[in-house]
């Protein structure tokens, strides 16, 4: 799995943001790519958690069919535990609403939830995720793994992007 983490105000990590605010986590994103043998295509899954304005944090699970974003169908669920995708986009237009996650989607969703918990802690009082991992090297508030698909993340803001963070 690939990760991108950016903390507000160039935080250094190490748990220092735990006592901070809903804005402390500028963005957390994780990415997983699988090959669908039957469809003979790659499917990209991304989770994004970020500040969405008004003192709120939002999260999205994106499922992207294929490698070429201009041709891809993109499905979006808007909460970690959602059992359906709220929107399906193609060429930046909504083509379908409310599609159930299939068994495999739920499996991937579970993997994401597990991996998120390695990096983030949910704060009940603040009702948001805060960065909570002392083992990774956050430099100037930023951490990204080698093959994190930045191009894809940037593209998603043209499709469905409730977050105030822009790329």
């Amino acid at each position: 799995m690939n990760y991108l983490i950016q903390l507000a105000n160039n935080e250094t990590g190490g748990g220092s943001v735990l006592n901070s605010s809903v804005r402390s986590l500028r963005i957390f994103s994780s990415h997983k790519c699988i090959y669908d043998v039957e469809a003979k295509m790659f499917i990209h899954f991304l989770v994004v958690i970020s500040y969405s304005g008004g003192g709120c944090q939002d999260e999205c699970l994106y499922k992207i069919y294929g490698s070429n974003l201009e041709k891809s169908t993109i499905q979006i669920s808007t909460s970690a535990g959602d059992s359906f995708f709220h929107y399906t986009f193609r060429n930046q237009n909504i083509v379908q609403l409310e599609t159930e996650l299939n068994h495999f989607d739920k499996q991937i969703q579970g993997e994401f939830l597990e991996s998120i918990s390695k990096y983030l802690l949910y704060d009940d009082e603040l009702d948001c995720f805060l960065f909570n991992n002392t083992s990774i090297n956050i430099t100037n508030g930023f951490f990204v793994t080698d093959k994190f698909p930045l191009k894809t993340l940037k593209y998603l803001k043209n499709v469905y992007w409730p977050f105030s963070t822009h790329w």
Binding site: C33, Y35, F42, S67, N68, D146, K147
Partner: protein, 113 residues
């Protein structure tokens, strides 16, 4: 005409070879020729490359780099797209920078042998 070269497959990666051929021909259509080239012909357990020749494509305007890149990253392979007419190539190395590297005036005659 272009050649798409995926390398390096280990000798035991026959299933991956088949997956590669399926994947490429599914997105680009049937290849004029698919070549499985051992790195050492005298070694039965030699690693190998898989080449695809396509006469209908050119490097300029080729619209499938994202697909090739995904396959290369996912399977830890290198991929080169070589244009025989312009003698230019673009390569993606999964273990290096996340970008296609273009090189001009390259002679890769062995792709058509």
């Amino acid at each position: 005409m272009i050649t798409i070269d995926f390398n390096t497959f280990w000798s035991e990666q026959n299933l991956l070879k088949e997956t590669c051929i399926d994947f490429i021909q599914n997105i680009l259509g049937p290849s004029d020729r698919v070549t499985i080239k051992k790195d050492d012909e005298s070694d039965s357990e030699s690693s190998f490359s898989v080449y695809f020749n396509y006469s209908q494509y050119q490097l300029k305007g080729f619209g499938f780099f994202d697909e090739l890149m995904d396959f290369a990253i996912h399977n830890e392979l290198y991929v080169i797209v070589y244009d025989h007419d312009t003698k230019s190539r673009k390569g993606y190395w999964y273990d290096e920078d996340d970008e296609w590297v273009e090189l001009e005036n390259v002679e890769m005659a062995n792709y058509t042998k």
